[in-house]
Symmetry: C2
Subunit: 391 residues, 2 copies
Amino acid sequence: MTEVVIAGIGQTEVGEHWEISLRDLALDAIQAALKDADAGGIKPQALFVGNMLAPNLSGQAHLGALIADYAGLTGIEAVTLEAAGASGGAALRQGYLAVASGMVDAALVVGVEKFTDKIGAVVDEALATTSDSDFEAVQGMNPTAQAALLMKRYMFENNVPADGFANFALTAHTNGVANKNAMFRKAIKPETYHKADMVSDPINMFDVAPNADGAAALVLTRRELLPSNWHASRPLVKIAGSAASSDTLALHDRKDILYFDTAQISAGKAMKQAGIILDQIDFFEYHDAFSIFAALSLEAVGFAIKGKGWKLAAENEIGLKGKIPCATMGGMKARGFPGGAAGVYQAVEAVTQLRGQAGANQIAGATYGLIQSLGGPASTAVSHILQRADD
Amino acid sequence: MTEVVIAGIGQTEVGEHWEISLRDLALDAIQAALKDADAGGIKPQALFVGNMLAPNLSGQAHLGALIADYAGLTGIEAVTLEAAGASGGAALRQGYLAVASGMVDAALVVGVEKFTDKIGAVVDEALATTSDSDFEAVQGMNPTAQAALLMKRYMFENNVPADGFANFALTAHTNGVANKNAMFRKAIKPETYHKADMVSDPINMFDVAPNADGAAALVLTRRELLPSNWHASRPLVKIAGSAASSDTLALHDRKDILYFDTAQISAGKAMKQAGIILDQIDFFEYHDAFSIFAALSLEAVGFAIKGKGWKLAAENEIGLKGKIPCATMGGMKARGFPGGAAGVYQAVEAVTQLRGQAGANQIAGATYGLIQSLGGPASTAVSHILQRADD
């Protein structure tokens, strides 16, 4: 099998970029990624854009051609991938397939989202398009209310105490402190979590990730196309496994609403492709848009048995020195949730870890990282295993 | 190189389907394509959805998971591809890359659009998201007005007489008569074209394709995975060439607004991959959303020299018995323009021709067909060469 590597990474700060346009955010991330890949004469032949809501929030579709042109890459192949919150992961997956096919030698993957192009109810309406419009959105359901129902049921079924989910937020915010691109860089205390305002009971302010602007980019190519002396001192990171799976949009159609089938299926396939078992994974960038998603992801992937994902967090096993470090650069809660860019940020952060460039947040000797991008309540899951290629 | 074949095709009638939902349209096309592929135990592992405007028109994003589930394929990989009017071509291209990569054995490609979910100015606003929102849409530019400016300039530069474009519409409507899935099935006379109301001078009612609802689907797989006795009596159709290219969204950034660079680049690459020259192409399904697009496409691909595409039509060379038959099943003008489904309809129609199933519209001995899906004024172009595989 061809080895597809991530030869360059780039990202903007995540936050409220009122003064920066969607295309400028994308440009910044792309330029950073191309600079990071540097030398080796890598010329992207294709651009895969992950975006979730620009047709509604920014009045702008057709981002592929728009961004390719704006980045000075006029003429290359370019397309937008959309799978709600998993749009970033989906863009990485399609970039991977294109390069693996041999039809494209080098591809740019960019995730970009600009929430601050709109404010108020329009944003809620836009987010509601990611759920089932005929059966959920039309009833007034929105993603946060839906996650609240999931969390409430989970707490009831599994006897989770009040504040049982606190450590998902505490860990994320602890890890965000040293990430200069994170939206929030201040650790929070248990009492801060305890006193936080409710957003949609039982989801408090720290159980939901903040919508934010941002862009992240990757340069993909095949290993054999890199010059032999390319960045000799920097570990090369390859995509060892890639898989995606889909489920119902509407929760009422599921046999078990408290199990993320797609997270299990896609992670299992990616691990199989990589030829590794769960124990070999050194860190897990989960899709912690909501704390309940993080708990259910830990269970679906197999790090915890059903109903005990929250406990893994409560026992401090998701911290940087825990059994399975998660959200190592702050995750969606502290780094922020830039919609269709989120899945690409995960990849950028995982590459940073695998290269040993994660500074204060470095997982010693990290060799395998699992990143997982979810759309809706795991209606889409895209999983990738990234590997430090020492050989 | 692996041979990727189109093992099944399906389509709904194109028209105003007020009573059929987006997901039901997609389901109809998918079921028809799976039935057409039949036997051989083809089980799709991935779904690629081409859609242009559902987040705006239907209040529904995340179509990949939605449609996969609705089609009874819950669990498979699923994603939406968007590149304005080229969304259908882009979905075919990504399906092709996935199957060619060896990572996916069989893929479904479905294009779907539901214009009648909204009426009035909202539709115009949605369509305007496909052009450059910051530099064109904000000025009130919409795709039809933009095409009118292009056509006017073209007529001035090339001394095109009034009614010089008539044959693009006449040919399309003649070919639509025998296509039971076409929106309009009545031939028009030169005087009907001449008397037609102006939409945006010089574009009259017949120079612009009607927005319409519809869905079309394809089953892709690798040739070696088909059973040896599979549909023995029916010619197999393979994807011999596939390529895409992008250009500026905004026309003011182009060196020559009257040349479709992307149409030239993508068609050239696809022909090179297929190992054929222009003379070997038996028919051309161009993107005749506007008559001027058809003329410029004929020139960019090389069937006419610059400024003479209109003349090829005027001289009746684009008819079923002409030098290069175009819009053989009615094209976008008579079959209708179902947005992100249009590029997939082209593929369905080309397969119909290459199998020899085109009835009254059959191009005798058709071996190679070029299909080309455009987004905006060729800001995106996706070209495929489909080939009857007799060997």
